[in-house]
Symmetry: C2
Subunit: 252 residues, 2 copies
């Protein structure tokens, strides 16, 4: 492991270089949010380094011992649960700035799989140390609780989607959610690249891939979006949002 001595290039991940939340451009979205300067520096000492995950590789698997949570530095992940009988449910898609792995806290072992959908990089946050630091920095403790709570609220939203929405509403909600999260990261809200397959979208939304594909086509026919493989352009946000109000239009 020898130092990388290329010049003119900002070196990343040079051995010995400490990862720094305080310098991270995602700090407003991620765990450091709301911490003071001095606290941020202490947070820097917490991060256990970075890890690169290639597309298709697992960040962790169900059953792995739980030791750390991860902050996504770059890239895109899916998490899924699978049962003995072969059922597979995608429980979420995670992007830069989001925290992943909190499912493992309860049993000291991960309860789902996390797979990179593109080449990605995560920051390791050793959990025992996070708890230590939390008890010293109240703002960190509180913020971490908010992050977990937000996950619970997000899950309730998915339950609502799976329990009450029709196929096209689900897909519209999904696209609007992605759009909004890309916006928060400074990317276009109208144009983006899907990192997941139709089957993965379907699993997340409780639909079959053919149904997802048909809904995409219908949206395109109606001028709401333009689809070309994984490239999506949202053309008519208002009408896409209007789809979320259910069929009749609000009654029943």
């Amino acid at each position: 492991m020898h130092a990388n001595v290329k010049q003119n290039v900002i070196p990343l991940n040079v051995p010995g270089l400490k990862v720094a939340c305080s310098q991270c451009n995602l700090r407003e979205l991620c765990l450091p949010f709301g911490l003071a300067e001095e606290e941020l520096e202490r947070l820097d000492t917490l991060i256990g380094g970075r890890r690169k995950i290639k597309r298709g590789q697992h960040l962790y698997r169900s059953g792995d011992p739980f030791e750390a949570i991860f902050a996504i530095k770059a890239g895109f992940f899916k998490t899924d649960v699978l049962t003995e009988d072969g059922r597979d449910q995608v429980t979420g898609f995670q992007m830069a700035g989001e925290i992943i792995g909190m499912d493992g806290i309860s049993t000291e072992a991960h309860t789902c799989n996390a797979v990179a959908l593109e080449d990605s990089e995560v920051c390791l946050i050793p959990f025992a140390e996070l708890e230590s630091l939390s008890s010293e920095i109240r703002a960190l403790q509180h913020h971490f609780h908010k992050v977990m709570s937000r996950e619970i609220v997000r899950d309730h939203g998915v339950m609502m989607l799976l329990g009450t929405m029709r196929a096209e509403e689900r897909l519209a909600a999904f696209l609007l959610n992605l759009s909004q999260r890309f916006t928060a990261r400074g990317y276009s809200s109208a144009e983006f690249h899907l990192r997941m397959t139709r089957e993965e979208i379907g699993s997340y939304l409780g639909l079959k891939l053919e149904t997802v594909s048909r809904a995409f086509s219908r949206f395109q026919d109606e001028g709401l979006i333009s689809v070309q493989q994984k490239h999506i352009r949202i053309l008519d946000i208002p009408n896409l949002k209007a789809l979320l109000g259910p069929p009749g239009g609000g009654r029943h």
Copy 2:
């Protein structure tokens, strides 16, 4: 704190009497789990008193400012989310020993409604004080994180149910889950009283009430359970469990 001097009667809720986790018969299920004697006593000072909730009353409503979480001392609750357009999704049923209200942490306001399905009683846990005490008692902090994480894992289970199971599998999973939770509380695993309506079960399971009713009838015809209104007796747990392995029997 002043001694209560009534004799022969165990006094409950007498004004001035401190609620005590250390004496609670639910402590092995609830927040105190795993704490040492001395820590338990400090936890006692945290509890902000009890509150009785009559059947049909709200413990909190979506939008209420978030100040405390609640430990259910006795009774039965449902939580639900509703959208502007009138959709209603039951996100869970909670019973004695369970913690409710963690959805409110993220935004400082509750994001769902909690309604008592029978006359109930909860212990108030002021959240700011819980965080304070957490930073002093590491075991409490860690246990609270486990409780939140367990909620996330539970939600993933519901997503799996809503995303991949057919009506009868959903109902079987629901009954087995209730049975298991009653068992953990020392009640019969085979015979219990449903506190919720068919419509509420349906909302939770992503089904219409008629479908729930039909599935109950089918189970009864097949000798798996006996149903009389809200009274349920589970007759054949093995075959009920077998329903969870999907139709074909594991393929696809």
